[in-house]
């Protein structure tokens, strides 16, 4: 790989061991892909895994970023941070025992300090682009599947699908190797996905969008999909839709004709590529995705998770409206997760009170559903949960070794189940 004089000096250790190891990682990655050079990025998004989970897993993850951070005083570019493991400011409302709080306090504050002291922006969200916006065509380094998918597909900024461990070196150096999705010609569609005649996108719920994407992405594998037949999508719909692609497949970019910026038409979405195949997503496919993601068998439910923690203000309003005059079943944990910005807005609008009157909680900044339940099923007393999030439904059983199983349902059904305390 061709390096500038300055890059070469970083590789030789002129700016200290953390920068040196970060450069080495970028060069090794570049060489694995035959990249010719590095390019500057304008922003980065990091996941503090050691602060996003708790318990022994947090301890295990603590050492991983250290080699890249040694003697690094600040990140080279504006760097946002992903969610943390618990709503540290409202543990009593979440009905978290002292044991759990102590467990979290051992690692999470230390993790936050580690990144914020180096200039990272404490956004603590998996939708950072709603707080620190990005623009079309910007080169960035993002990790967290949902962020990568949204940034590439919906905003049209360009990022590799950075793994959590690899985004740190990019933020430290402020560069990434030039290959893959940073190059326009590699961003064209490869496989066509059509909505079956027996489905009506106009009435899709968020969970439906997650389910169709989860199903089709497993078949598309690592080929960039071009969807046709979805006339329009809200920001929230796009969020549920895009993230599901990286859970069952391996692409970091997808196009929706007439909706996403690199797909104004079918022809422009494919560019010089010929579709390698056509996948049709029909009612049967939709139902099979719901079934695949519903691993639980007990009818009694311990927890309901909406937003983990990606809820926007419109979703919070929908939840508040559907909970009007209702009470959450005694003993069931119902957590609605968002970021602090949106939490404050919801508070001002009276939505937090409206939701919490029912016995549900609106949590801020906490990846509680996806991270805490699988790590501490016994401490939290949760073994069966219901969610409309693909990530939560798929990852919770996997990371808990099937100690916590899920039902995948749409938001309205989630609320109904929270009230009844059971899946009928």
């Amino acid at each position: 790989m061709k390096l500038t004089k300055e890059e070469q000096s970083l590789l030789e250790g002129e700016k200290g061991p953390g920068v040196q190891r970060s450069m080495r990682h970028l060069v090794e990655t570049g060489e694995a892909f035959d990249a010719e050079r590095l390019i500057p990025i304008t922003a980065a998004h990091l996941v503090m895994l050691e602060g996003q989970v708790a318990g022994p897993a947090a301890e295990a993850f603590f050492g991983m970023p250290e080699p890249f951070l040694e003697d690094v005083t600040s990140f080279a570019v504006p760097t946002t941070l992903n969610s943390i493991c618990m709503d540290l400011s409202r543990p009593e409302k979440m009905n978290i025992s002292k044991d759990v709080q102590e467990c979290v306090n051992k690692t999470t504050p230390k993790a936050i300090e580690r990144y914020v002291s180096r200039g990272a922006i404490p956004t603590f969200t998996c939708t950072p682009y709603t707080i620190v916006p990005l623009t079309y065509g910007q080169h960035v380094a993002a990790t967290e599947g949902g962020v990568v998918e949204y940034v590439n597909s919906v905003i049209g900024a360009r990022t590799h699908y950075e793994s959590i461990a690899s985004a740190v070196p990019a933020a430290v150096v402020g560069k990434v190797p030039l290959y893959g999705l940073h190059i326009r010609k590699n961003r064209y569609g490869q496989v066509l996905i059509k909505i079956g005649d027996d489905l009506v996108p106009e009435i899709f719920t968020y969970a439906d969008y997650g389910a169709i994407a989860f199903h089709a992405a497993a078949l598309a594998e690592d080929r960039i999909p071009v969807w046709i037949g979805i006339p329009t999508m809200s920001e929230a719909a796009l969020k549920y839709f895009t993230i599901a692609h990286c859970i069952s497949g391996a692409m970091a970019l997808e196009h929706v004709v007439g909706v996403t910026p690199e797909a104004p038409t079918l022809e422009e979405a494919f560019g010089p590529n010929k579709p390698e195949g056509t996948i049709i997503v029909d009612k049967k496919a939709l139902d099979s995705a719901y079934e695949y993601m519903s691993t639980a068998d007990k009818s009694e439910v311990d927890a309901v998770v909406l937003g983990c923690p990606h809820l926007d203000i419109n979703e919070i309003k929908e939840i508040a409206q559907s909970l009007t005059g209702k009470k959450v079943h005694s003993g069931l944990r119902f957590w609605c997760g968002t970021n602090e910005h949106t939490w404050q807005l919801a508070q001002k609008m009276g939505l937090v009170d409206a939701i919490e009157k029912s016995g549900a909680f609106v949590t801020s900044n906490a990846c509680s559903g996806t991270c805490n339940f699988p790590m501490m099923p016994d401490l939290l007393g949760v073994h069966t949960l219901v969610t409309n999030s693909v990530t939560c439904a798929v990852m919770v059983p996997a990371t808990s070794g099937n100690q916590v199983l899920c039902y995948y349902r749409n938001m309205k059904d989630c609320v109904d189940i929270a009230v009844k305390g059971r899946v009928s």
């Binding site: 694995a32 699908y161 893959g180 690592d222 859970i247």
Partner: protein
């Protein structure tokens, strides 16, 4: 000397072991950190031990946590000895680099045809080769 398949090396090092071939994509997230057993519902490797093997697959998939999962599996003993895959993507390449697991991808001939489960193979990341022993 056995038959040598030529590809593109990732990182450094060599490893020898028994090949385990799958035609389905894999996610490092589903490798048991300590026991090395692969657990993914409906996957052809579900329940099989991949730890210590030379894992041969079309491409990596999964969430952004896959690199950390592989680092942890390497530390706790459950990781494959080496990985050979057909198509490279960022998450899988960076996972093997960061976990320091030798890997080779993009073999000249279709790797899934060239290597059979249970064959003894040697993966050389420095030279980008896979030797059938």
């Amino acid at each position: 000397m056995g038959k040598i398949l030529k590809g593109h090396g990732v990182g450094k090092g060599q490893a020898e072991g028994e090949a385990l071939v799958t035609r389905q994509m894999i996610s490092n997230d589903y490798i048991g950190f300590a026991d090395g057993v692969y657990r993914e519902k409906d996957h052809e490797l579900d329940g099989q031990k991949v730890g210590g093997k030379i894992l041969v697959f079309p491409a990596g998939k999964g969430s952004s946590v896959v690199a950390n999962s592989l680092i942890l599996a390497k530390a706790l003993g459950g990781a494959p000895a080496a990985m050979v895959f057909e198509r490279a993507n960022t998450i899988q390449v960076q996972s093997t680099l960061l976990a320091q697991i030798p890997a080779v991808y993009s073999l000249k001939e279709s790797l899934l045809e060239g290597i059979k489960t249970s064959q003894k193979v040697k993966v050389d990341a420095d030279n980008g080769t896979v030797e059938i022993l």
